[in-house]
C-alpha cells in the first residue's frame, strides 16, 4: 500500500522529487503568462534540434475563457500543469510515468489505468504528436505525447512529453469534490490553507477582468506590437555588432510569441473575435512560433554547429 499525500503541494513535491530522481533537471515555471506548460521554452524550443534534454517543472497556466468566478468545482482560469519533457523519449517512458503515479499514491494494483488514444495538436504552436490521455478509473489524469512536429519542424529525435493537470489529479488523489476545498498545505499545519484561501478571490477578480473589463483596444494593439517585435528581433543580423558574437535572439523573440498567444486568449475571452477571425489570429501566432523555431535551430542549444 502506497502512503497517500495529504495536500496539493505534497503531490507537487513528490512529483518534483520523483522526476529529479529519474534524472530530470527540475526547472522553475516560466515567468510569463502561458496557456499550457507546453509553451515554456523548455518544452517548445528544447524539443527542437538534436541536443538531448530532460526537464520537469510546474507551470502556472492561464485559460481566460475557463474562468468561473471560483464557483465551478473544477474549472479555473488559472491552474497548474506539471510538465516533463525527455529527448530522446526513453524506451521505458510509460513505466517511468506509471512510477510517478505510484509516487503520488496511486496504486496500480487497485486502480484501472489505461492509455486511451488522444492525438495532441497545438494549432498555435504548429505542433502535433501522437499519444494518449491516461485514464485512472475513467478519469483523465495526464496527457502523454510523442512529439512529431513543433513549429513546423520534424522532431528528430522525438521528445516524450507528459502533462499532468495538477488540480484535477490532486483532487482525485485527495478525494476532494470542489477544487476550492482542497488542502493546499498540510491540513494539520498551524495555518492550514485550502486552495480557495489562495485562489478563490483571484479567480473572481480575473474572471471579471477577462470577461468584461480587459480593454480590447489595448489588447489588440499589444497583440500587433508583440507580433511586430517578434519579427523585428528575428530580422536582426545574426552577428551582434557590439560583441562580434553570433547571437540569435530566439528566446526574446519567442517571449513575444508567447505574449501574442496570451493576448489572443484574452481577446477570445472578451468575445471580440469572430469564428472566421479566430483562424486568422491562430495562424498569425503559428507563424511567429514557426519563425522562433526556425531561429532556435540555428542556435547552439538548437543543435547548430559552427
Amino acid at each position: 500500500m502506497t502512503d497517500k499525500p495529504r495536500s496539493f503541494q505534497e503531490i507537487i513535491l513528490r512529483l518534483q522529487s520523483y522526476w529529479a530522481a529519474k534524472g530530470c533537471a527540475v526547472l522553475q515555471p516560466y515567468d510569463m503568462e502561458v496557456g499550457a506548460g507546453t509553451f515554456h521554452p523548455a518544452t517548445t524550443l528544447r524539443s527542437l534540434g538534436t541536443q538531448p534534454w530532460a526537464a520537469a517543472y510546474v507551470q502556472p497556466s492561464r485559460r481566460p475563457t475557463d474562468g468561473r468566478y471560483g464557483e465551478n468545482p473544477n474549472r479555473l482560469q488559472h491552474y497548474y500543469q506539471y510538465q516533463v519533457l525527455i529527448k530522446p523519449s526513453p524506451p521505458d517512458l510509460q513505466a517511468l510515468y506509471l512510477g510517478s503515479l505510484e509516487a503520488i499514491g496511486i496504486d496500480a494494483n487497485l486502480h484501472d489505468i489505461r492509455f486511451v488514444e488522444d492525438d495532441w495538436e497545438s494549432p498555435t504552436l504548429g505542433a502535433w504528436g501522437l499519444g494518449w490521455e491516461v485514464w485512472c478509473d475513467g478519469m483523465e489524469v495526464s496527457q502523454f505525447t510523442y512529439f512529431q512536429q513543433v513549429g513546423g519542424h520534424d522532431c528528430h529525435p522525438v521528445s516524450g512529453e507528459l502533462t499532468y493537470g495538477l488540480e484535477r489529479l490532486a483532487m482525485y488523489v485527495l478525494g476532494v469534490d470542489h477544487v476550492m476545498g482542497m488542502p493546499f498545505n498540510d491540513p494539520d499545519a498551524p495555518i492550514a490553507l485550502r486552495y480557495g484561501d489562495v485562489f478563490r478571490q483571484t479567480e473572481e477578480e480575473y474572471s471579471r477582468h477577462n470577461f468584461d473589463v480587459a480593454d480590447t483596444e489595448k489588447l489588440l494593439r499589444h497583440f500587433e506590437d508583440a507580433e511586430a517585435e517578434c519579427q523585428r528581433l528575428l530580422e536582426a543580423p545574426v552577428e551582434d555588432p557590439k560583441t562580434g558574437k553570433r547571437i540569435i535572439m530566439a528566446h526574446p523573440a519567442y517571449d513575444q510569441c508567447i505574449k501574442a498567444s496570451h493576448l489572443f486568449n484574452l481577446l477570445d475571452a472578451r468575445g471580440v473575435i469572430s469564428v472566421t477571425e479566430r483562424q486568422a489570429y491562430i495562424g498569425r501566432v503559428r507563424a511567429l512560433a514557426k519563425l522562433c523555431a526556425d531561429a532556435f535551430v540555428q542556435t547552439e542549444a538548437g543543435g547548430y554547429v559552427a
Partner: protein, 697 residues
C-alpha cells in the same frame, strides 16, 4: 510444413485501428509469402491493445528453384545494347551463353534462382510489412527512424515443426526478433517464452490477456447482460461501443454501477451520450420505466477489492460529467421556458457562411420558405413558420454546444418545455432528416415543410455563391441535402415541381442578402444536379439509368414524383415483349428518318396523308397511329403512364408489319416523302410518352 507465429508488441494501439491492423498484417505477410512462391494451409490474425499477432499453419518449408532463360541481343549488337542486357539480368558477359540462331549468334542469359527457405522469405516479408505498414497515422519515437502506430517494443517471429521451434533471424531498427512476449501490463509477471501459437495463446491467457477480440467482446456482453439481468435491467445494445471497448482492454472486467438519483431526470439520450462519449460506458435501462438507471464500465483490472475502488472512481467522474450536463440542461430549460429568445438573438452573431450571412438570417429565410411550401405539403403555414423559427434555436444551447450530436433532439425537448405546439416540437427534431439514404423520412406535414425549406435554402444558397460539390469534395454536404429533398418528396408522394420552388428559394436568398450574394442560383443547373442524385438513388433501387434519362428529357421533369412514376412505367414497359419490340421499331423509324432528314436537309414533321398510302400495311399503320394518338393524349394528360404505354404497345404489330412490307425510300418522291412523314408521326407519338432515343438496346 512449419507453422509460423508472429507478434508485434507495442505501446497501446488505438482501439479503432486494431481490427484493420490485424487484417493488414495478415494480407501483407501472406501476400508476400505467396509472391515469393510459398503456400500455406491456414492463417489467422489477432489484436489486443498492445499487440498484433499472426498465426500461419502449414507453410511450405522452401520455395521451388526457378530457372529462367532470357534472350538477349546479337553478339555483334552495339555495346550499349549488350550493357543494357547485362544490367537487366544482373550478370556479367562471361556468364552469358552464346547460341546460334537463324539470324546469327545471340546472347542468352540463364538465370537459376535456387529455392529459398521459408525462414529467409518470412524474415524479408515481415520486415517489409513492418516498414510499410498502412497505419492511418504513424509516428517515430526516441532517436530511431522506424515508424509504427506507437513505439514498437518487441517482435516474435517463430517457425515451428516436428523438430521444435526456431526464431527466424530478423532485426528491424534495432529490434531483434525473438520468442518472448509479455502478458497484462499490471497483472502479469516478467516476459515469457513461447513455442508456437497454441502455447502463445494459452500462456497469454495465464498472463491475463485474452488474445481474441471477439472473445473479449463476448465476455463483456455476456457479463454485462448477466449482471444487468440479475437486477431486472437490460443493457442498451451498442455494437460500435462494444467493439471499441474490447479494443481498450486485454482482460475485460465488467462493473455495473448506479447513476446518482440526482441525474435520473435528465433525458435518457443525454445520459446515454454523455456516458458513451466521455466515459465509454454502456447504458443500463430499466425495462419497466424505460429510464436509464445504471451503467456498465469495463475495466482492464482484477483487483483485491473486486473493483470497488475502480467503480467508485468511475462513479465520481460520471457524477462530475453529469453535473455539467444537468447544469446545462437546467440552464437551457430556463431559457427555453422564456421562449428561447436569448438563443435566437445569439444566432445573429453566429456566421453560417460568410457569403450567406448569420444563422439568424438563414433561419429567417428557411421560415419564409417553409411558409411558402406549407400549403403544398398539407401543412399549416403559420405552424411551419413558427417551427422553422425555433428549429435551430438549440444550436445556441449549452447542451448542444457540449454534445453536437444531440442537435434537433434537444430542440424538441426545449420546444416542448417552451409550451410550443406538438407539431412544432416534432419539427425541431425531424427537420434535419433524412440524413442518409436509409434514415427515416419525416411524414408529419409541418416537419416535411421545414425539412424541405432547410435543405432547399442550403442548396439554392450555395448554388448562388457557386460553392458546388466537385468530385469527392462536398464540404457542405449538398449531395446529402438534395437526396434528402428527393426522399422527402418520394416517400410522401408530394406533387411538388422543383423549379418554381428553386426560384422562390433563390429569390429569398437573394432578397435577404442583397449585396452579399451577387447572382441568383442557376436553377436549371441545380435541377440537373438533382437529376444526377435521383439517378444514383434510383439506380440503387434497380431502375436503369437510360430509362431515367428518357424520362428526364420530358417536360415536367422537375416534378420528381411524376418523373419517377414515368420511369417506373417505362421500365416495366420495356421488360415486356411488346415494349422491347416497339423500341426496336421506334429506333428503326427514327434512324431512317434522321438519315433522310440529314441527307435532304429538311425536317419531315407533318402532312402524312393516307391517300398516298400504297400498301395495306401502310394504310393499317395510319389507322393504328390515329387510334394510338387518340388514346395516348388523354392518358398523358391524366398522367396515366401505364395506359399511355399500353396504347403505344398497340403500335408494335403495325410498325413491324409496315417495315416488313414497305420500302420507305421509294423511287416515287411523293410516296417517299409521305412515308417519311408517316415515320415522323411514329416518332412524335412515342416521344410524347418518353424520349425513347435515350434508351439503350
Amino acid at each position: 510444413m512449419p507453422d509460423v507465429l508472429i507478434e508485434l508488441f507495442s505501446e497501446e494501439i488505438p482501439a479503432r485501428m486494431q481490427r484493420k491492423a490485424a487484417d493488414d498484417l495478415k494480407s501483407l505477410v501472406t501476400n508476400g509469402l505467396v509472391e515469393a512462391g510459398l503456400t500455406y494451409a491456414g492463417v489467422a490474425a489477432f489484436s489486443t491493445p498492445r499487440r498484433l499477432a499472426l498465426s500461419i499453419d502449414g507453410l511450405t518449408a522452401a520455395s521451388k528453384p526457378v530457372r529462367e532463360e532470357r534472350k538477349g541481343p546479337r553478339v555483334d549488337a552495339p555495346e550499349k545494347a549488350i550493357e543494357g542486357f547485362l544490367r537487366a539480368t544482373g550478370l556479367n558477359k562471361e556468364q552469358l551463353e552464346v547460341r546460334d540462331e537463324k539470324k546469327g549468334q545471340v546472347y542468352f542469359a540463364v538465370i537459376e534462382k535456387p529455392g529459398r527457405s521459408a525462414a529467409e522469405i518470412l524474415a524479408e516479408v515481415l520486415e517489409k510489412a513492418v516498414r510499410n505498414f498502412p497505419w492511418p497515422k504513424s509516428m517515430r519515437w526516441g532517436a530511431g527512424s522506424l515508424r509504427w502506430v506507437r513505439p514498437l517494443h518487441s517482435i516474435i517471429c517463430l517457425m515451428s515443426d516436428e523438430q521444435g521451434a526456431q526464431v527466424v533471424p530478423l532485426e528491424i531498427d534495432g529490434i531483434v526478433a525473438g520468442d518472448t512476449t509479455r502478458g497484462h501490463r499490471f497483472m502479469a509477471g516478467d516476459a515469457f517464452r513461447v513455442t508456437g501459437f497454441d502455447d502463445y495463446e494459452a500462456k497469454l491467457k495465464r498472463a491475463k490477456v485474452v488474445l481474441r477480440a471477439e472473445e473479449r467482446a463476448e465476455m463483456i456482453w455476456h457479463d454485462a447482460t448477466n449482471q444487468a439481468f440479475a437486477q431486472g435491467l437490460e443493457v442498451v445494445e451498442d455494437k460500435g461501443l462494444l467493439a471499441e471497448v474490447s479494443g481498450l482492454v486485454e482482460w475485460p472486467v465488467v462493473l455495473l454501477g448506479a447513476i446518482d438519483d440526482a441525474f435520473l431526470g435528465l433525458p435518457p439520450e443525454v445520459l446515454q451520450t454523455s456516458m458513451k462519449e466521455h466515459q465509454k460506458f454502456f447504458s443500463v435501462r430499466n425495462p419497466k420505466t424505460g429510464r436509464i438507471e445504471k451503467f456498465v464500465t469495463v475495466a482492464n483490472m482484477e483487483t483485491a477489492d473486486h473493483g470497488a475502488t475502480i467503480l467508485a472512481g468511475n462513479q465520481k467522474v460520471l457524477a462530475a460529467r453529469l453535473s455539467d450536463a444537468k447544469f446545462f440542461w437546467e440552464n437551457d430549460l430556463r431559457i427555453a421556458k422564456e421562449g428561447m429568445g436569448a438563443w435566437r438573438e445569439s444566432l445573429a452573431n453566429v456566421t453560417f457562411h460568410n457569403k450567406l450571412g448569420s444563422q439568424a438570417e438563414r433561419i429567417a429565410r428557411i421560415a419564409a420558405l417553409a411558409g411558402e411550401i406549407a400549403p403544398m405539403v398539407g401543412a399549416d403555414a403559420a405552424l411551419a413558420v413558427q417551427a422553422a423559427e425555433v428549429a435551430k434555436a438549440d444550436l445556441s444551447s449549452e447542451m448542444v454546444y457540449e454534445f453536437p450530436e444531440l442537435q434537433g433532439l434537444m430542440g424538441r425537448y426545449y420546444a416542448e418545455a417552451a409550451g410550443l405546439p406538438a407539431e412544432v416540437a416534432a419539427a425541431c427534431e425531424a427537420h434535419y432528416s433524412p440524413l442518409g439514404p436509409s434514415d427515416d423520412v419525416p411524414t408529419a406535414p409541418v416537419s416535411v415543410a421545414v425539412a424541405l425549406a432547410d435543405k432547399l435554402d442550403t442548396l439554392t444558397g450555395f448554388w448562388a455563391i457557386d460553392e458546388k460539390p466537385t468530385g469527392s469534395k462536398d464540404p457542405f454536404a449538398l449531395r446529402r441535402a438534395a437526396l434528402g429533398v428527393i426522399r422527402l418528396v418520394l416517400v410522401n408522394g408530394l406533387t411538388l415541381p422543383l423549379l418554381p420552388l428553386f426560384a422562390q428559394a433563390s429569390e429569398i436568398v437573394g432578397k435577404r442578402d442583397a449585396g452579399k450574394v451577387e447572382a441568383f442560383a442557376d436553377i436549371n443547373d441545380l435541377l440537373s444536379f438533382f437529376h444526377d442524385r435521383l439517378k444514383v438513388f434510383l439506380r440503387d433501387q434497380g431502375v436503369r439509368h437510360d430509362v431515367i434519362d428518357a424520362c428526364i428529357a420530358m417536360d415536367g421533369a422537375d416534378d420528381l414524383a411524376l418523373l419517377v412514376k414515368r420511369a417506373e412505367a417505362l421500365g416495366a414497359f420495356l421488360t415486356t415483349d411488346d415494349g422491347e419490340n416497339l423500341l426496336q421499331g421506334f429506333k428503326r423509324a427514327n434512324n431512317i428518318l434522321t438519315q433522310a432528314e440529314e441527307k435532304d436537309g429538311v425536317e419531315y414533321s407533318f402532312g402524312a396523308d393516307p391517300k398516298f398510302a400504297e400498301e395495306d400495311a401502310e394504310k393499317a399503320l395510319f389507322a393504328a397511329l390515329d387510334k394510338a394518338e387518340a388514346a395516348i393524349t388523354p392518358a398523358m394528360a391524366a398522367q396515366d403512364f401505364a395506359a399511355a404505354m399500353g396504347a403505344m404497345a398497340q403500335l408494335r404489330a403495325p410498325i413491324d408489319a409496315f417495315f416488313e412490307a414497305v420500302q420507305v425510300n421509294s423511287d416515287n418522291q411523293v410516296v417517299r416523302r409521305n412515308r417519311l412523314n408517316l415515320l415522323s408521326r411514329i416518332r412524335s407519338i412515342c416521344l410524347s410518352v418518353a424520349d425513347l432515343r435515350q434508351v439503350e438496346g
